[in-house]
């Protein structure tokens, strides 16, 4: 067993009333590839970002190589030997690859107040060569690289400081074969150099192959740490969820069932990364749209609801004979939209549950002289609170006081109360716990049974396979495949079309910026 490198003791972190981390103890030894898993919102990204200096903890202590460690910021953490590769795109497009590799360190190349770019490019190329990405030219413009290569540039940037501990936060989902190979070689090198790696991933297969230890987080608590032969998919899943997964988590039927009536017809949608997408939604259908985060599915959802306008084509509701122009007309036609970015777009945090839930229904609630009585608002809200079981003290409670799952329930209630018929749901289960997730799945099933039509946009494939009648896979703004509901459908089938070959997604990242 290697000697301890990084040690966390009693780390706590709160976001408002939400407890992201509760008394977390964690130990990373040298030569260890330590997996960190948990549901969304379990605290794994919070933990890693504290270690990497992107956030500070509220209480608790860290030790790095036996010395007290409390990074002030990310540069401080890097200088002390902690490097982190994150999920999101973190390179700047309109500067050179070399400048990106040495972001924040260019002063090291300064002579008489001028930066010696030749040196920067040379050093950057050395680092790229070293990690096995010699095909990337350090002098080239970053925007000219594709998404994956830009990710590799980020890996190079982390390696500049020659870290002792490498944190990989859900990076592999964005990488195809080449990127993965580079990353896994790097991991191997850390292992043989007796350094440590913290590896965060949702991919249980990958974790089993790479890690020699896996720690499971749930709701901010450390649940268990598995070693060697105990690292099995079953064990991990069971510990993540906290109980045996009931068979009825997703839909129990495996038939693709929906009415033939088309309720929403989108033709030739072009907006942002989305190019020329056609889509038809039927009565009683759950239509999935999946892909990587920047494939254009989120933008597509916004166009369907009229928040963004398509450059060509149209979104029509054939049954009603109307075109969707703006959110106002969509709401009027009983459509609903749930944004991926809940706190920023779906709800008014500073307002009460009541104010949030009645907002889309105000026009239908107005009585004589436009009067909306407190009583009618309250009974309307209480009914919704009952239906979804929103945990709260009273309808007038502010949303800032609610947990993520309950906030999401409020966002749903807005549209349930409005009696919406066509729902565009962008990642409705993102960042909420399993219990609320299950409740949302039941709700979707009910709505489907009642003849409502749902577009479910999601990055989570199990959810897609578990819930949808049809699935559209998107890549680079285009639909690359369509799957019908079937018990044989596997994640691997879908992923193929999400990522595809590296060669033909050149310039993706450039165009999506």
């Amino acid at each position: 067993m290697g000697k301890p490198i990084l040690k966390a003791m009693g780390v706590n972190k709160n976001f408002g009333p939400t407890r992201a981390l509760v008394d977390v103890d964690f130990l990373l030894r040298s030569g260890e590839i330590h997996g960190l898993i948990g549901e969304n919102g379990s605290g794994k990204s919070t933990f890693s970002s504290i270690v990497a200096g992107a956030q500070t903890c509220d209480s608790g202590r860290f030790e790095l190589n036996g010395q007290d460690y409390m990074p002030q910021n990310m540069v401080d953490a890097q200088n002390k030997g902690i490097g982190m590769i994150v999920q999101e795109q973190g390179t700047i497009g309109n500067i050179s690859v070399a400048s990106n590799v040495f972001t924040g360190r260019l002063h090291e190349f300064t002579k008489y107040g001028f930066i010696n770019m030749k040196d920067v490019t040379k050093r950057a190329q050395e680092i790229l060569n070293d990690i096995g990405a010699g095909d990337i030219d350090a002098a080239s413009m970053t925007a000219s690289l594709n998404f994956e290569d830009r990710k590799i540039v980020e890996i190079a940037r982390v390696m500049v400081a020659d870290p002792n501990v490498l944190i990989i936060d859900e990076t592999t989902t964005a990488l195809a074969m080449k990127g993965r190979e580079i990353l896994f070689n790097l991991i191997e090198r850390f292992k043989s150099d007796n350094k440590g790696v913290i590896f965060i991933s949702h991919d249980l297969d990958e974790l089993m192959n790479v890690c020699n230890k896996v720690t499971i987080l749930r709701d901010g608590h450390i649940i268990d740490t598995l070693e060697g032969g105990d690292i099995t998919e079953d064990n991990m899943r069971r510990l993540m969820v906290g109980r045996e997964l009931s068979k009825h988590y997703f839909r129990s039927d495996f038939e693709c069932t929906y009415d033939d009536t088309v309720v929403l017809d989108a033709k030739q949608i072009t907006f942002g990364p989305v190019t020329n997408v056609d889509l038809q939604l039927h009565k009683g259908e759950i239509l999935g749209v999946c892909g990587l985060s920047d494939c254009g599915m989120h933008e597509l959802g916004k166009v369907l609801f009229g928040i963004e306008k398509s450059i060509t084509g149209s979104v029509t509701l054939p049954e009603r004979g109307v075109d969707i122009k703006d959110p106002y007309s969509s709401v009027k036609q009983d459509m609903a939209y749930l944004s991926k970015d809940r706190d920023r777009e779906s709800i008014i945090l500073s307002a009460s549950i009541m104010e949030n839930i009645v907002l889309p229904s105000l026009s239908t609630m107005s009585k004589i002289f436009g009067l909306i009585s407190n009583k009618s608002e309250k009974s309307f809200t209480e009914e919704q609170i009952d239906i979804l079981g929103i945990k709260c003290r009273e309808p007038k409670q502010r949303l800032t006081e609610l947990s993520g799952g309950n906030k999401q329930k409020v966002a749903f209630s807005k549209w349930l109360g409005r009696n919406s018929n066509i729902l565009i749901l962008d990642c409705p289960t993102r960042g909420i716990d399993v219990g609320v997730k299950a409740a949302i799945y039941r709700l979707l099933e009910d709505m489907k049974a009642n003849g409502k039509a749902i577009v479910l946009i999601s990055e989570e494939l199990p959810e897609m396979i578990g819930m949808c009648d049809r699935m559209l896979v998107m890549k680079d703004g285009e639909i690359t495949a369509e799957f019908k509901r079937s018990p044989e459908l596997s994640e691997a089938d879908i992923i193929k079309y999400m990522i595809g070959s590296v060669n033909n997604n050149a310039n993706t990242s450039a165009s999506s910026n």
Binding site: V22, K332, S339, E355, P360, L362, S366
Partner: protein, 333 residues
């Protein structure tokens, strides 16, 4: 596990308690401030402040501010700010007097003209910010500049300080009429603001414009409506203000926008708008700012010091009341 869960509940309770304490504080604070101001001013003026004549005086002084503040509440509730209203009020007064002294038009025509002028000014702010996608505040500064120019040019043309002929306009100083008008505007304002879609959508926009739009609120229409209401209030206030002042000059209406802003802040009206905006705050705030100005003047404090005190007070109030957890800044630009 049990102790951990217990700890979690404790911390949650603590954070909730803190939030609730702040809510209660924000609810009570303006009222305490009002009572405090009255007591201080009574002592500072040796009781003069609470004399019958002065109370009538305070009521009269608060009239214009109150009328305009009720209209301004709609703009502030959606996180906007209109700094043109003082200058617009000045131009409206000029139109009101000029229509009679210069053109010999009947009083009611002048009144309608004054209101139309005020509405035009605020509507330019509303439409301008909507069409140009600018903060209403920025557009209002431009309109303010234009209105000030019109007022100066107009006053020069009509003869500098224009005296108001009281035989014609004197009826506007009738206290019964003023109280009736104020109560009517207050009632309608309160109803629209608290009980109808208009006010609720203004507040939703102030709370989170993205959410409001995605919930089917037409942001452009809502912004313009708020400025329309403000314009009506400014126009009505201008008519009465002119009769009270007895004269129209290049200084008419100046400083009104600051008084409104400070009144709203003192009353606990959130400067960034949103759901905690209440008409109640408007009334309390107007009473505080009027009492303060009146009391300090009675106590013999120079006018320039009074403005300094108001400015400092505004900063202090905003610093205390500004909700930092909202991650939203009071946007002035």
């Amino acid at each position: 596990m049990l102790t951990q869960a217990q700890a979690a509940i404790d911390v949650n309770e603590l954070l909730l308690k803190k939030a609730r304490r702040k809510d209660i504080f924000m609810l009570v604070f303006p009222f305490v401030g009002l009572i405090f101001t009255i007591i201080i001013m009574t002592f500072a003026t040796r009781g003069l402040f609470l004399s019958n004549e002065n109370i009538v005086n305070i009521m009269n002084q608060s009239f214009t501010t109150a009328l305009v503040a009720i209209g301004a509440a709609f703009v502030y509730a959606q996180g906007g700010m209109d700094f043109s209203l003082g200058a617009a009020c000045g131009v409206a007064q000029m139109v009101f007097i000029g229509s009679y002294t210069h053109f010999g038009l009947p009083v009611w025509v002048g009144a309608v003209g004054a209101i139309l002028v005020a509405v035009t000014a605020t509507m330019i702010v509303g439409f301008g910010s909507y069409i140009l996608h600018l903060q209403p505040f920025v557009v209002s500064l431009c309109v303010r500049s234009a209105c000030t120019g019109i007022l100066v040019a107009g006053c020069n043309a009509l003869g500098r300080n224009i005296l108001v002929p009281m035989d014609i306009y004197g009826f506007l100083n009738n206290n019964t009429l003023k109280v009736t008008v104020l109560l009517l505007v207050l009632l309608i304002g309160w109803f629209l603001f608290e009980k109808t879609r208009v006010g609720k959508e203004e507040k939703a926009i102030g709370g989170n414009i993205l959410t409001a739009v995605q919930s089917g609120v037409r942001s452009g229409r809502t912004v313009v409506t708020a400025h329309l209401i403000l314009g009506l209030c400014v126009g009505i206030a201008a008519c009465f203000q002119m009769a009270r002042a007895g004269t129209v000059s290049t200084q008419s209406g100046s400083g009104l926008e600051f008084n409104i802003m400070i009144a709203l802040a003192l009353g606990g009206f959130p400067m960034a708008g949103g759901s905690s905006a209440k008409i109640r705050s408007v009334i309390v705030g107007v009473l505080i700012i009027t009492s303060l100005t009146n009391g300090l003047t009675l106590a013999g404090v120079d006018n320039s010091y009074i403005n300094m005190i108001k400015g400092l007070l505004f900063i202090v109030i905003v610093a205390i009341s500004y909700d930092r957890s909202n991650l939203k800044q009071v946007v002035f630009m």
